[in-house]
Amino acid sequence: MGVMVDRPREQSPLVSGRNFMRTNHIAYFAAILVTLIAAVPCRAEADLKLPREKVTLVAPPFVHPHEQATKAGPKIIEFTMTVVEKPIVIDEAGTTIPGFTFNGSIPGPLMVVHEGDYVELTLVNPATSTMMHSIDFHAATGALGGGALTQVNPGEQVVLRWKATRAGVFVYHCAPGGSMTPLHVLAGMSGAVMVLPRDGLRDAGGKLLHYDRAYYIGESDFYVPRGDDGKFQSFTEASDYFPKTLELMRKLIPTHVVFEGKVGALTGKNALQAKVGETVLIIHSQANRDSRPHLIGGHGDYVWETGKFHNPPEQGLETWFIRGGSAGAALYTFRQPGIYAYLSHNLIEAVELGAVAHFKVEGKWNDDLMKQVSPPGPIPPDGISQAKAH
């Protein structure tokens, strides 16, 4: 590829994100793309002889069926995602924004592979779309995570293959460049990949860890303008919404912080379910902003706070931290029945802005772990003296 040599005065976009969106850089990536296509005219199948497996993705919080550990050798795992641009409702008041999504859901679906596998994604941008889209996999190596090789216009599709060389949970997101990157991500275009070690998850001592259920929670922040009447405005056109939300985004104060794209998306009828004794893996991603997951009444038994499975998990955590632009994973075995709130323990963001999910857990109560020794009632007249006697 002679592109770099041909444009010696241009800084590499890898060190100059600021210039990334400039028109000449679009031409630059188009040039790379053209060069690659020209240099590699043959089909992908011809250059890599490995077994292939086609996986159908499912909408979060659910995760497609997968092996937790595998004895099989590396494979090429084929996924297809279609960009869906559609208005989405983000709160109970019906506030609507023009959503950009991978496969129609916010977050996009979780893709699970094993370390050493190849992810082969077909990204489809239907002709009905209004904008160019792309995908940057934090788990992938090179070309801006694939962002530089996957720019697809409406009516185009692209196939990108990358090798999963690092185990962990990783964000992916749309990255069309410049302000369009945060705008597309904050319109819904982010998701996560989980690359499992081939021999499964392990604790610090090497003991195998197993989960009975996995849930994927994708957190989003939205910045919605209010009208003169103080109410959130609704938008259906990105061309109308983007300039206004961008102005608010620059102030960094979100109007909504939500899981699964909407206030209350994981509560009530959509509450997450588990049973006492079951172990649940909770994968939490935030493509843009920091978050502090906390399970009220429970813990993180094993937490990969930075989400990377070759670092030993921390044990017995109360609250963990998801850095903006990353995903983390927490393993927890439920020990008591009831309703658990899983939230961002910035309580303002949880209660006022929406970042709350519920777990509905059925099973048998354990009095040893907790017991209401004396129910609430009037303070006995000699209560204080009794307390002193103890």
Binding site: G264, Y340, A341, P378
Partner: protein, 290 residues
């Protein structure tokens, strides 16, 4: 208006016979205009009342007792919720606190984002304007007036030492309710009940004067032993019954795991009768709690 209603409580077998009379009061406003308070008289009849509060038997949480109540006096209650325009007259006279934006401030909409304290201040102002005694209804009066619009919150699950049983049952029940559009709508949008009262259990919940209580029950389900009343928290009625701190104007915060919040807080008032609508004119007996 005069209507005659025959209603049967299927669960309890109590037959009720009620007579409804509409009447009006005139309020002199600050601008010397006359404002009409449209109220409805509900004539006395027996009804089943699910008490409000937290109840326990032998330390286990249970459904509140169901009480057969026989009222012997007329209940004189506003036909519709107090509107923004009505409330704002009180604000204009500096007797009520101004409500804070952002929503539902068109004059013809119910006055929402009012606390119990705001509603009480309004009642005091209205009383001074009319020379009558207006106040928030008790929860029992509200349930009486709501008739078929009252939502019984009994869970009908067996008492259990396991605190998660009722918790999960309540969560299931609340999850089944349809999500309402929270935007306030003009009076009448949610229709009238059998007495002609508008918008009960719509998307505006109503304050009552009843304090939150905690009460233990004996084996027969009768209140026994000491109870605690917390009058900093009042019973709020609507699509479901809930308990809200008296200074809260917007209870919509999603909460953690403590149940569904009311969409909007508003109110309607009752007028004391001609000296005979006292508590002594109400008779109660405990009913089988099923």
């Amino acid at each position: 208006m005069l209507t005659l209603k025959l209603k049967r409580f299927t669960k309890t077998g109590v037959f009720t016979f009620s007579l409804v009379v509409a009447s009006t009061s005139l309020v002199a406003s600050s601008s010397a205009q006359l404002q009409t308070v449209e109220a409805i008289d509900i004539v006395p009849h027996a009804f089943a009342y699910r008490m409000a509060g937290d109840f326990s038997q032998a330390g286990r949480p249970v459904d509140a007792p169901l009480v057969a109540v026989t009222r012997t006096s007329v209940l004189h209650i506003m036909k519709q919720q107090v509107t923004a325009a009505e409330y704002d007259r009180c604000v204009a006279e500096a007797r009520c606190m101004a409500r804070s934006p952002p929503e539902g401030f068109a004059p013809n909409l119910p006055a929402i984002q009012v606390s119990w304290r705001d509603a009480t201040a309004y009642a005091t102002w209205l009383s001074s304007k009319t020379g009558e005694t207006w106040r928030l209804p008790t929860d029992e009066e509200w349930v009486f007036a709501a008739g078929s619009r009252f939502h019984d919150d009994a869970l009908s699950v067996a008492a259990s030492r396991d605190p998660s049983v009722r918790w999960l049952a309540r969560y299931e029940k609340e999850s089944e309710q349809e999500a309402l559009d929270q935007r306030p709508r003009p009076p009448g949008a949610f229709g009238a009940n059998e007495y002609g009262l508008l918008d009960l259990s719509g998307n505006v919940w109503e304050w009552t004067n009843t304090c939150f209580i905690r009460q233990s029950l004996d084996t027969k389900g009768k209140p026994a032993g000491a109870s605690t009343a917390n009058c900093g928290v009042r019973v709020v009625e609507g699509e479901h019954r809930t308990y809200v701190t008296d200074f809260v104007r917007d209870a919509r915060g999603t909460g953690c795991a403590v149940g569904k919040p009311p969409s909007n807080l508003g109110f309607r008032l009752v007028r004391e009768g001609n000296g005979f609508a006292t508590m002594a004119s109400v008779f109660r007996r405990l009913m089988p709690n099923n």
